[in-house]
């Protein structure tokens, strides 16, 4: 397991390097310049581009960037005066991460529970309504849901705040609107995986052993059924933890998702790049953890990767 972990870590770092390179050139491929705003004149644009080193040959810029990256310096934002990319991440990430984390936890928790309930319930009504619920949950784009929630609970009922995270109640709606879709997916994945497991002989055996049903489900079936769920949660968590532009915009959350889309719109190269690299670290990190967890859950892999 240790060797596997090391190997996995090393390849993860390699992937990160490839990512930085790819992202660097991808951002430069975008048409438009960071300094051609509505108001800036040609001279200003040229002068500023010069000042930021955008006129240098691309490979030189790349070298400089890599060098700085190693020092942990992601550069300064082109479009936010006096703000370094690290600062942008530093203030955007907490909100995004917290909302994302809560959403992941909510989705994992409710998804798992609902999935188990759907798979194991003997009542048609329960199974049917959870099935319908997953349909609805997966059937509404999250920004529409966010809008409707903001409208319903905020504007109409005035129950919950809809702008910002200044109070704990402010988390409810964004987290909910982010969590609904993954919850639906997890519910469904879980339910199907469990239905597969239900047919296995070992379940019968566990019952024959006199294990409580709950223990059978938790200690045995889930261990197998979690693998597909985990494999979904990983990328989903990575996605949520890097922020959703729509939900952040609608609920006025000062997060990274919004920052990212804006940076693209502004052609704020360093910021796009910095955010991409940062999100890449999150994504690759989360995938790494998922992989390790899966390997750990899967004895065949666990033994094989010794």
């Amino acid at each position: 397991m240790l060797r596997y972990t090391c190997k996995r870590l090393a390849t993860g770092l390699l992937a990160l390097y490839v990512l930085v390179t790819a992202a660097f050139f991808l951002t430069r491929m975008m048409p438009g310049s960071p300094f051609q705003g509505g108001d800036a004149t040609e001279a200003v644009t040229a002068a500023v581009e010069e000042a930021y080193g955008l006129k240098e040959p691309l490979w030189r810029q790349y070298g400089t960037y890599l060098g700085n990256l190693l020092k942990g310096d992601l550069g300064i934002s082109y479009k936010k005066p006096g703000v370094t990319v690290r600062q942008v991440i530093g203030r955007g990430w907490p909100a995004t991460a917290l909302v994302g984390f809560l959403a992941v936890v909510t989705a994992a928790l409710f998804g798992t529970l609902l999935g188990i309930w759907q798979a194991l319930s003997k009542r048609r009504t329960v199974r049917g309504s959870i099935f319908l619920g997953t349909l609805l949950g997966a059937g509404i784009p999250n920004f529409v849901l966010a809008l409707l929630l903001a409208l319903g609970f905020g504007v109409k009922l005035k129950l919950l705040p809809i702008a910002g995270l200044t109070e704990p109640a402010g988390y409810i709606l964004p987290v909910f609107s982010l969590a609904v879709y993954p919850t639906a997916v997890i519910t469904k994945t879980m339910c199907h995986a469990l239905e597969d497991e239900l047919e296995k002989e070992y379940v019968k055996m566990a019952r024959a052993k006199g294990l409580k049903w709950r223990r059978t489900v938790v200690g045995h079936m889930l261990k197998n059924a979690w693998i597909p769920v985990l494999n979904y949660i990983g990328p989903a968590a990575a996605f949520l933890l890097t922020g959703s532009f729509a939900v952040e915009s609608i609920f006025t959350i000062p997060g990274l998702g919004r920052e990212f889309v804006n940076s693209i719109a502004n052609r704020d190269y360093t910021l796009i790049l910095g955010l991409t690299v940062f999100m890449g670290v999150v994504v690759i990190g989360v995938n790494l953890v998922t992989d390790l967890l899966c390997a750990w859950l899967n004895p065949a892999v666990r033994r094989a990767c010794r």
């Binding site: 310049s33 504007v155 809809i162």
Partner: protein, 514 residues
């Protein structure tokens, strides 16, 4: 911040929703959208109020020589920064000097070019010291201009002409402007707290020379990313004022006290590219212009638009008069479909036959997209010609427009200062914003002449003439509509003013009614 609705009227605090954070609070810094909200914290030298009356702010008087090229301002001796330092002429020069460094990225630096050597300094051809602004003493500021400028006072509300405290403001982009300790103000409010991307709080400046006239004790500006959310937050009571809302809000709040519509000096129009085949023919341009039903267009696009056939925005005041500039002359042309058809036929495209499919570039904003769709339909109906719609991401649209890479391109101009010159100058052969290939020596001559003209009426005449030439005869542009700004203000909040040029709200005199 706290919820607006929970506050009692006596507290004299308001929460304002503003568009999301762009730029900083440094008047010499990058495009300062945020700065505009912040403007309640900085006193300009002089300003114009809603009625067009001159108000003295940091200056208590000014003189101008006969040729309008030397302007002398006398600063208030009793004015101090919020930390107690006196406001001096050096503070004003500080902003200008910093803004003239190209790396400041300040979008308003070109408005310093009328000052002697301003442009040369910006282009690195002259030293900052040689700038035509001098301070004979700490409380006198003298501007020497390259050439006469009658609208110089209008320019003074631009950020580059406001002061920044020499003590703290050393470099653009060093972040001093967002630090409550260093971001001192000479206006009625000063910065109390700044949370990036979320909100900032202005507190009443008790040291302000006119502090008695200020009633609010605190203004919280909250950044919103999405106009719909802004309107929603107003609904839930999380903010007291929501600005720059979408047009649908006007319909929704029709007849309610909350709705405050302000006049923006802005025109939306289309650049036809004169270098592209049929568009080089003035008859075709004219036909396109005459075939647009602007009234119907505005009905569909939203209540916050008003049809116009002028280039200069409708709400631009005529200097010295109480009327709008556009009212000073006949409209450049009248819509007329039959005439348009005739012109098109004359140009060789009877009933649109053989007319190439032109592409219309516009940024993918809702309003522009709506406009484009209506135009497409109208031209099809009226002239039987097809245009292809090409929605572009905002940055791409800018870039392509600037490069002249288009056939028809949407353009919007919001005046930076309240003088028609801001519009007319755009079509000068050498203007940066002239990207459709207008090279008209006559036009250039008229506009330049008007720029040097100190006589108000003669100047107005020249400008009308220029507009008529550009819009009514040569049809260099296709004007569509002017815009209004739609705001929601809680009825209990009174005294919110309007900054004349931009239609932005001014909270200096605002207060909460009991």
């Amino acid at each position: 911040a706290e919820k607006g609705q929970e506050k009692t009227a006596g507290e004299q605090e308001i929460t304002v929703a503003v568009n999301s954070e762009t730029g900083g609070l440094d008047p010499a810094g990058m495009i300062a959208l945020t700065y505009l909200s912040y403007s309640a914290a900085l006193d300009e030298l002089v300003a114009f109020d809603e009625k067009g009356e001159l108000v003295y702010r940091a200056a208590e008087s000014y003189e101008v020589n006969e040729t309008s090229d030397i302007w002398t301002f006398h600063l208030r001796k009793d004015a101090v920064w919020s930390d107690g330092t006196p406001v001096t002429a050096a503070d004003f020069i500080n902003t200008m000097a910093r803004a003239l460094k190209p790396e400041s990225g300040n979008g308003y630096a070109n408005y310093l070019f009328p000052i002697r050597n301003g442009e040369a300094i910006y282009n690195g051809e002259a030293d900052v010291e040689s700038l035509g602004v001098t301070a004979p003493d700490a409380y006198t500021l003298v501007f020497e201009l390259e050439k006469p400028c009658v609208y110089f006072l209008d320019l003074l509300r631009l950020p580059v002409y406001t002061p920044s405290c020499v003590k703290y403001a050393d470099k653009v982009g060093s972040g001093w402007d967002k630090e409550p300790q260093t971001s001192v103000a000479n206006g009625p409010f000063y910065l109390e707290e700044y949370v990036p991307e979320q909100y900032f709080v202005l507190k009443k400046n008790e040291k302000y020379w006119n502090a008695d006239a200020v009633k609010l004790s605190r203004i919280t500006y909250r950044f919103f990313h999405d106009q719909q959310s802004m309107a929603n937050a107003y609904e839930t009571g999380e903010v007291d004022v929501a600005t720059a809302l979408p047009g649908a809000v006007m319909e929704l709040y029709e007849g309610k006290e909350d709705l405050v519509v302000t006049d923006t000096i802005a025109t939306r129009y289309i650049y036809p590219n004169l270098e592209v085949k049929p568009l080089d023919d003035v008859r075709v341009r004219r036909a396109l212009n005459l075939a647009v039903d602007r009234k119907e267009l505005c009905e569909m696009v939203g209540k916050d638009t008003e049809p116009t056939v002028n280039f200069v925005a409708k709400y631009m005041k005529d200097k010295g008069a109480d009327t709008y500039f556009t009212e000073g002359a006949e409209p450049p042309f009248e819509e007329n479909v039959a005439e348009a058809k005739r012109l098109l036929a004359e140009a060789g495209y009877p009933d649109g036959e053989g007319f190439p499919v032109l592409t219309y570039n516009y940024p993918s904003l809702e309003m522009d997209s709506d406009t484009a769709q209506v135009l497409k339909e109208q031209w099809k109906k009226n002239l039987n010609i097809d245009i292809e719609l090409k929605a572009q991401e905002l940055q791409v649209n800018y870039t392509e427009r600037r490069a002249g890479n288009f056939e028809l391109c949407r353009m919007n101009w919001t005046a930076d200062f309240a003088d028609p010159y801001t519009y007319l100058s755009m079509l000068l052969s050498y203007s940066t914003y002239n990207c459709s290939g207008v090279r008209d020596a006559d036009y250039d001559a008229i506009v330049e002449q008007s720029d040097g003209e100190t006589d108000r009426e003669a100047r107005a005449r020249l400008m009308h003439e220029a507009e008529q030439l550009a819009v009514g005869e040569e049809f260099y542009i296709i004007p569509l509509y002017t815009m209004k700004s739609c705001n929601l203000i809680r009825p209990a909040v009174k005294g919110v003013g309007q900054i004349p040029a931009t239609g932005a709200l001014d909270y200096r005199g605002a207060y909460r009614a009991e």
